[in-house]
């Protein structure tokens, strides 16, 4: 009895291990843009390449780029699951309902949805605390501006973007009380022509520092042409515009997360989680601060990064009021994640109105 039990166990283990050897873990990636966009999708693809490099033959990755949100996304995810994917990363907010739909049909396949809020037993969500990077940008921008006008190219009025504007504004204001934000809503994540127009319009309105929440390098090029205008890389480092106009950047670094989650699937320890990581785990990286930034400002920025890494500093620390003058955070109080995740209000001092 005992021996037969033992034998069954051994054969099963053997079967499992040979199965694992013959069949590498398959990881699928669904991208909203082309892998060569130099921004959002590019960085997700860097994460995929990091997974390939780390696991070698144990893992096979597949991807489909420029997948429209809607039925196309659902079809591509289903196809990956049918073809034997064990883990699928869906890397756009607009894939949320589709990811949930497909996950229902394939309970044994694990799904990871970027920037969404709907989870299931086999659906995790993950996002990055880019607002930490925005705090650093705001601090540098507030110090650099001489016209006291900072331009901001915003994409869509969603919590992610509004949070970034607030964080940048709070820290620019702290560095320079006279600072004013001019915001242009581009209604796009990636459109070089529109972004260039927005940058030019902001420069004409007197902005000498431009922050962007869009992914192309067009604003950098516009700033370079204008001269004496500073910019920050977005999603990617955009180092080709350093040391000037690009003085620093926020880099999305998905590699550690993608490697960890793939490892969890291989080990059989994967569980549905909601991950919101920032500078501390390296999901958000701050690109090199160039010498165009005065040494003392750079030192302050580096100290701020270090304090956010250790958790000693939270960019949304009271006292803070909302735009309408009502109280938000008391002295020393920090914002909770729930409020931040759904942020749909400006902080006091911003003159723009959130469009609807």
């Amino acid at each position: 009895m005992k021996i037969s039990n033992l034998l069954t166990g051994v054969t099963m283990t053997l079967a499992l291990s040979t199965g694992a050897m013959a069949d590498p873990t398959k990881v699928g990636f669904v991208y909203v843009g082309p892998v060569g966009d130099g921004g959002w999708t590019y960085e997700h693809n860097q994460g995929r390449l990091a997974v390939e490099e780390k696991f070698g033959d144990d893992v096979e990755t597949v991807f489909v780029e420029s997948v429209a949100e809607g039925p196309d996304a659902e079809r591509v995810m289903t196809q990956m699951a049918l073809e034997g994917a064990d883990l699928i990363f869906t890397t756009s907010f607009g894939y949320m309902d589709q990811t949930i739909n497909v996950a229902k049909k394939f309970p044994n396949v694990k799904f990871e949805h970027a920037t969404g809020y709907k989870r299931a037993d086999n659906v995790s969500t993950y996002s990055a605390r880019f607002y930490q990077g925005r705090a650093v940008q705001g601090h540098i921008a507030g110090n650099l501006t001489e016209s006291n006008i900072i331009g901001y190219i915003a994409s869509f009025p969603i919590p992610e973007v509004i949070r970034g504007i607030n964080s940048a504004y709070i820290h620019a204001k702290k560095a320079n009380p006279d600072v004013e934000f001019k915001i242009i809503w581009a209604y796009t994540w990636f459109d070089p022509a529109k972004e260039a127009d927005a940058a030019k319009a902001l420069i004409e309105q007197g902005a000498d520092v431009i922050l962007q929440h869009t992914d192309s390098t067009a604003p950098q090029a516009a700033a370079q042409n204008a001269g004496d205008v500073y910019t920050f890389g977005q999603a990617s480092d955009m180092i080709e515009y350093a040391p000037n106009p690009r003085v620093s950047s926020i880099i999305d670094n998905w590699s550690p997360y993608y490697i960890a989650r793939t490892q969890a699937v291989i080990d059989g320890t994967w569980a549905s989680v909601d991950t919101w990581d920032g500078i501390s785990t390296g999901m958000v990286k701050i690109g090199e601060i160039t010498d165009a930034v005065p040494a003392d400002v750079k030192a302050e920025a580096l100290a701020m990064i270090e304090n956010m890494r250790t958790g000693d500093y939270h960019p949304f620390t009271g006292p803070l009021k909302k735009q309408d003058g009502s109280d938000w955070l008391a002295d020393g109080e920090t914002a909770d994640d729930g409020t931040l995740a759904g942020m749909s209000f400006y902080v006091e001092g911003l003159t723009d109105t959130i469009p609807e």
């Binding site: 597949v62 196809q79 607009g94």
Partner: protein, 360 residues
């Protein structure tokens, strides 16, 4: 010496043969393209054309073909009527968006009431929205002689802005934590354009597309209005003598294509897509122009062309995932199809002559 000689009548044989020939040449040149970028050419072609229909997972892809082809066919049928009459509606994408917004708006206004009357009302609203949006270039053309190509195209961008505004404002899901996008109509039974038989992909939009094909066929071959449409496109003077009122024809052509595009948008938003979102439109309105011409502006041809385009989309995505083909290569492949078709069109209207040119 090769010369071109104009045919007195477009060749019937060639007009049927050229689409088939264009597909064959696209396959050959496409295979060369794929092998040039280091991908197995036969496998790539097989993945694109064969796997969705007869491959291991065809049970899933076949219904997807219907879902993908239905809006293309529905929009292209409407466009083809106008194109035949020389009325150029390039803004179907905008009418598609407005149709979706009007239809979804009606549905969401009833939320959470359940009732069998909700979906029919949404369908009417969708068609009306598309029709209304197409009436703008129509009336401007009739009253002020503006160019409908420009006006209808520009209105696409207006519609896109409206779509963004609706996703962020009026139609935003109140339970969406501030994120853009409406409630998902798939989770609102009375407003959901569900599959009529589960797993077949057959939703109301597919049925509507098939009905549109039949009606367009009857209209063009059996009906006086269809005769007028063809006459206006082929011989304007003759059309006037035959009693065709150009203004009414313009409004009819733009109206019907707008209404059909609006319907396509409504069926999509209430069914496969499920919600109004900033990126709801994915270019069906523009691709339908290709489909209309690929199908030679003939209802049956459009049906086949829509199916073929859907096949290249679905097969293209499979090829991306399984063979690592870049999406740009797939797009080039699709572009070649239209390119070769237009190039070969020459043979329909011209005869190629070899030998010395005669003295002029």
């Amino acid at each position: 010496m090769i010369r071109l000689e104009k045919r007195s009548q477009p060749s019937r044989e060639w007009s049927i043969a050229t689409p088939i020939l264009a597909v064959l040449i696209t396959i050959i040149v496409g295979a060369m393209l794929f092998s040039a970028i280091g991908k197995p050419p036969f496998e790539a072609i097989r993945t694109i054309f064969w796997d969705p229909l007869f491959g291991e997972f065809a049970f899933y892809y076949r219904p997807q073909l219907l879902i993908k082809a239905a809006p293309l066919v529905l929009i292209a049928i409407g466009l083809s009527l106008g194109f035949r009459a020389g009325v150029w509606n390039i803004g179907a994408e905008g009418q598609y968006i407005i149709g979706a917004l009007s239809g979804a708006g009606v549905g969401l206004a009833f939320y959470p009431i359940e009732g069998l009357y909700i979906l029919p009302l949404m369908v009417l609203a969708g068609a009306f929205g598309g029709w209304l949006w197409a009436m703008i270039p129509g009336l401007l053309k009739v009253k002020f002689g503006t160019n409908e190509i420009l006006v209808s195209l520009m209105l696409v961008y207006v519609a896109e802005q409206l779509l963004a505004s609706m996703s962020l404002g009026l139609l935003k899901n109140p339970e969406g934590f501030g994120f853009p996008g409406s409630r998902n109509l798939q989770q609102y039974p009375s407003a959901h354009n569900a599959e009529l038989i589960a797993g077949t992909g057959m939703h109301l939009g597919v049925v509507a597309a098939l009905i549109a094909v039949i009606f367009a066929y009857i209209l063009l071959t059996r009906h006086r209005l269809g005769f007028h449409i063809r006459l206006a496109g082929e011989a304007q003077r003759a059309a006037r003598f035959a009693g065709v009122e150009p203004n009414r024809l313009i409004l009819f052509c733009l109206g019907i294509s707008g209404a059909l595009a609006g319907l396509a948008g409504l069926f999509e938003v209430a069914g496969p897509a499920g919600q109004v979102s900033i990126d709801f439109n994915v270019g069906y309105g523009f691709t339908a122009i290709i489909v209309a011409f690929l199908g030679r502006l003939h209802p049956v041809g459009i049906l086949l062309a829509g199916a073929l385009m859907a096949l290249t989309y679905i097969g293209g995505d499979i090829a991306q995932s399984n063979l690592g083909l870049p999406s740009a290569a797939i797009q080039v492949f699709q572009g070649m199809l239209l390119f070769f078709l237009l190039a070969l069109d020459l043979l329909t209207n011209f005869r190629i002559k070899f030998g010395k040119s005669e003295v002029a």
